[in-house]
């Protein structure tokens, strides 16, 4: 090929690149709420607040890939329910224009990949100019998303992640807030439980990942400090297809009084199934993520991190019933109204995170309804929202007087830190005023 032809081809490729890159303007929404109305593109020149027909709530969520299970079962149902009910109620009130505007969800799929997530967040912030930015799914993605929210001045309130590493990040990103309780509040409660119940030895299976490192990295020194003997530890990879029976064999050999599993929900459940099969029944069995899901209710006596239930508070009960009835009506809850299993159902109650995730929605809503106004770019002024969130209390299902301290919540904001399945209820058992039942130790025998 002659160099002239090559130059022509390169020019054509460059033209194609610019056409695809969206130089000509913002692309239409990739996905969103079915009921939502169309977006009015903000215009810098001659823009007026009354031009706006909706508020755009943007997010990059893992709808496919390894994290999709968390989005489908834990986070997604909260946001969908919130937006749906918000719009049924006429939308979200914007004080600066004195009326409600419907909310529109504009969600991109990051395919559980950090680089894709970053690119899509940049597009949401720069090109789509969404009004509100939702956080991504999981701790790891939140670590990458927080600097972007900060860079573009967006408020980001996350129920999707917390922990020591996230804590370090949000110390440098004042626009980012976390709501979920995690190792920093749960491990002290676990240590206290061990101490008060006289537990003397422990064996831990943990996922060889940020999650496992956060939890076991905090638990090990905390338990050693109170004299608990570490009989052994068993790291497992985060990949699927791991033979969990080996972990149970190692735990049985160690003969520890307590057994901890700090892995991902499906892994924790598989370990429990293997323990049940092998008849391994330590005095204290505490599951990490997944232990608080309804799907673990059959594991009588198993403990989990969390925690709350319908007895925790009146507003917690109302929220729980509301969530249940909403998804039962949609036919997506794992149980039918009469309590029989719904084979089509994919939505479970999570007695750890759900109340935190819904509180996130409430905080966003209250911040907008009290401090929402459009800036010169024609989008909600997020700087004002950040100031409002920092300075005010929020009336949420988690806490009537929810208030951030250094962009996180103090331990006393939560309804509990440890739960235990007792007769189908995830009872709060940590030694605090939130306890709804005394811990049952030793754990009852497995019921197949």
């Amino acid at each position: 090929m002659s160099k002239k032809n090559r130059t022509i081809l390169l020019t054509l490729a460059l033209a194609l690149m610019f056409a695809f890159s969206g130089c000509g303007g913002a692309a239409p929404p990739a996905s969103g709420d079915e009921d939502s109305s169309s977006v009015t593109e903000p215009e810098a020149d001659g823009w007026q607040e009354t031009d706006r027909q909706s508020i755009v709530v943007g997010g990059v969520r893992s709808q496919t890939g390894a994290n999709a299970i968390f989005e489908q079962t834990a986070f997604g149902p909260q946001y969908k329910m919130w937006i749906d009910e918000l719009n049924k109620d006429g939308g979200i009130y914007i004080p600066s224009i004195g009326k409600k505007l419907p909310a529109e969800l504009k969600i991109y799929d990051d395919k559980s990949d950090a680089q894709t997530m970053v690119r899509l967040y940049e597009q949401l912030c720069i090109e789509e100019k969404v009004d509100i930015l939702l956080p991504p799914v999981t701790n790891m993605l939140l670590l990458a998303a927080a600097p972007i929210a900060q860079k573009y001045g967006y408020l980001m309130i996350a129920g999707e992640g917390a922990g020591t590493e996230v804590g370090k990040v949000i110390a440098g990103t004042p626009n980012v807030f976390t709501v979920l309780n995690f190792s920093q509040t749960q491990i002290p409660a676990i240590a206290e439980l061990f101490k008060t119940q006289g537990v003397t030895s422990v064996f831990c299976v943990y996922v060889d990942d940020l999650l496992g490192a956060e939890y076991w990295g905090a638990a090990r020194p905390a338990l050693e400090e109170i004299g608990v003997e570490i009989k052994g530890e068993y790291p497992i990879p985060s990949t699927l297809g791991v033979d969990m029976s080996l972990a149970i064999t190692a735990a049985e050999k160690a003969e520890a009084q307590a057994f901890l599993t700090f892995c991902y929900p499906d892994q924790d459940a598989e370990i429990a199934a293997n323990a049940l099969e092998a008849g391994y029944n330590p005095d204290l069995y505490l599951m990490g993520p997944g232990g608080s899901y309804d799907s673990s209710a059959g594991f009588e006596g198993i403990m989990g991190i969390g925690a709350w239930n319908e007895k925790s508070s009146e507003r917690a009960r109302e929220y729980s019933e509301h969530f249940k009835s909403y998804w039962i009506d949609k036919g997506e809850f794992w149980r039918n109204e009469d309590g029989t299993p719904n084979p089509e159902g994919t939505v479970y109650q999570d007695w750890w995170g759900h109340i935190c995730y819904y509180s996130v929605c409430q905080i966003y809503q209250q911040a907008i309804e009290n401090a929402g106004e459009f800036n010169e770019d024609g989008i909600i002024d997020n700087a004002k929202l950040v100031s409002y969130v920092k300075a005010n209390e929020f009336d949420t299902v988690l806490n009537e007087h929810l208030r951030f301290s250094n962009n996180t919540l103090a331990a006393d904001m939560y309804l509990g830190q440890i739960g235990q399945w007792q007769s189908g209820v995830f009872e709060v058992i940590d030694a605090s005023e939130h306890r709804t039942a005394d811990p049952v130790i030793p754990k009852p025998e497995w019921k197949k």
């Binding site: 090929m1 002659s2 160099k3 002239k4 032809n5 090559r6 130059t7 081809l9 390169l10 490729a13 460059l14 194609l16 690149m17 610019f18 056409a19 695809f20 890159s21 969206g22 130089c23 692309a27 239409p28 990739a30 996905s31 709808q63 991109y108 799929d109 990949d113 950090a114 680089q115 894709t116 970053v118 690119r119 899509l120 940049e122 597009q123 720069i126 090109e127 790891m140 670590l143 990458a144 927080a146 600097p147 972007i148 860079k151 020591t164 590493e165 370090k168 990040v169 060889d208 990942d209 940020l210 496992g212 490192a213 956060e214 076991w216 990295g217 790291p235």
Partner: protein, 324 residues
């Protein structure tokens, strides 16, 4: 110097090529001023993939040794940035990242480039996996955590950083292709035993080419790490980063310097568009395009165009084209 003269000023065509490259770089320098604020990031990714694809072609396209180590070099660059980025200017950490990737490739090359065929490919694939798992183990074992935060830079700075790497690499690759070194690589690709018989130090030539091709990949890895803000082994050593440059190079054509660049532009633009507009069908369409390219255009876009032009020329010369 003589080589540079011959490469860029040795005849009318070489001069046109040289000035076209310079004009393209100058245009790319000013382009971000005329697009949306997202454009620099988009272009930075396109250029990053162009560099990776070009680097793959420099070694694998010429020697026929299919390397799947791009993710290893890219990830090395990212980790260098994560480790040093807070204390050093980005340009310095990019140079160190390039040197680190060069060093990794040189060391690995010395050990493995005596292997041939599929054994080399499997080894390079395993290298990315090994680095991923090793760093993962190291971080969890000794630091009870996974990953590092990376000091973020604005998109425009990152764009100019990768653009400079691209320009330098392009201005190195073109003369290299015309040099004795490039000729030696071509010989190895055609028949390694023959190359050895005519006096080419095949092992050292391959090792050097492998290492030279790794350096710019490390540099762009360091620059792009700053757009993500957080790097862990799964992000840095993602296996897709080993396959994408190969696909882009095959798509554009591996027999020309411009093939991988066109492949990167088309592939990344398509990916970016589909991710937003057809997220559910993104991988299906992507897969179909790839299968179609391999079946219908085994020599890539440039190969097809070369064939068409050659046929037309034969046609003008009075030769019979096809069954006409």
């Amino acid at each position: 110097m003589e080589l540079l003269k011959r490469s860029f000023f040795g005849g009318k065509a070489a001069k046109i090529q040289f000035f076209a490259i310079i004009i393209a770089i100058v245009v790319l320098f000013f382009v971000p001023n005329f697009g949306s604020a997202y454009l620099p990031l988009f272009l930075a990714w396109v250029i990053t993939y162009a560099v990776m694809s070009l680097a793959w072609t420099l070694f694998s396209g010429k020697t026929g040794y299919v390397s799947l180590a791009s993710a290893a070099f890219y990830g090395t660059g990212m980790y260098v940035q994560a480790a040093l980025g807070s204390n050093l200017p980005i340009v310095v950490s990019m140079i160190i990242a390039a040197a680190a990737s060069f060093g990794v490739a040189f060391g690995i090359g010395l050990v493995t480039l005596r292997l041939r065929g599929v054994y080399f490919t499997i080894f390079t694939f395993g290298l990315s996996l090994f680095l991923n798992k090793f760093i993962h183990w190291y971080e969890v074992k000794f630091f009870h955590t996974k990953g590092h935060m990376v000091l973020a830079y604005d998109n425009l700075t990152v764009y100019y950083c990768v653009l400079v790497v691209f320009a330098i690499f392009l201005l190195v690759v073109i003369p290299m292709n015309k040099s004795r070194f490039g000729l030696a690589l071509d010989c190895i690709g055609q028949n390694e035993d023959s190359a050895q018989h005519v006096g080419v130090n095949t092992t050292m030539t391959k090792v050097l080419a492998f290492a030279v091709s790794a350096a710019p990949v490390g540099a762009v890895g360091a620059a792009m790490a700053t757009t993500i803000g957080y790097v862990d082994p799964d992000i840095a050593f993602k296996l897709l980063a080993s396959f994408m440059p190969v696909l882009m190079a095959i798509f554009g054509g591996t027999h020309s310097v411009y093939g991988p660049i066109v492949g990167a532009i088309v592939f990344y633009s398509l990916q970016d568009y589909l991710l937003r507009e057809l997220p559910g069908a993104y991988m299906i369409i992507f897969g179909c395009v790839m299968v179609a390219v391999i079946l219908l255009m085994p020599k890539g876009i440039f190969g097809v165009i070369d064939t068409i032009i050659a046929r037309r020329k034969r046609g003008f010369d009075g030769e019979v084209i096809g069954d006409v």
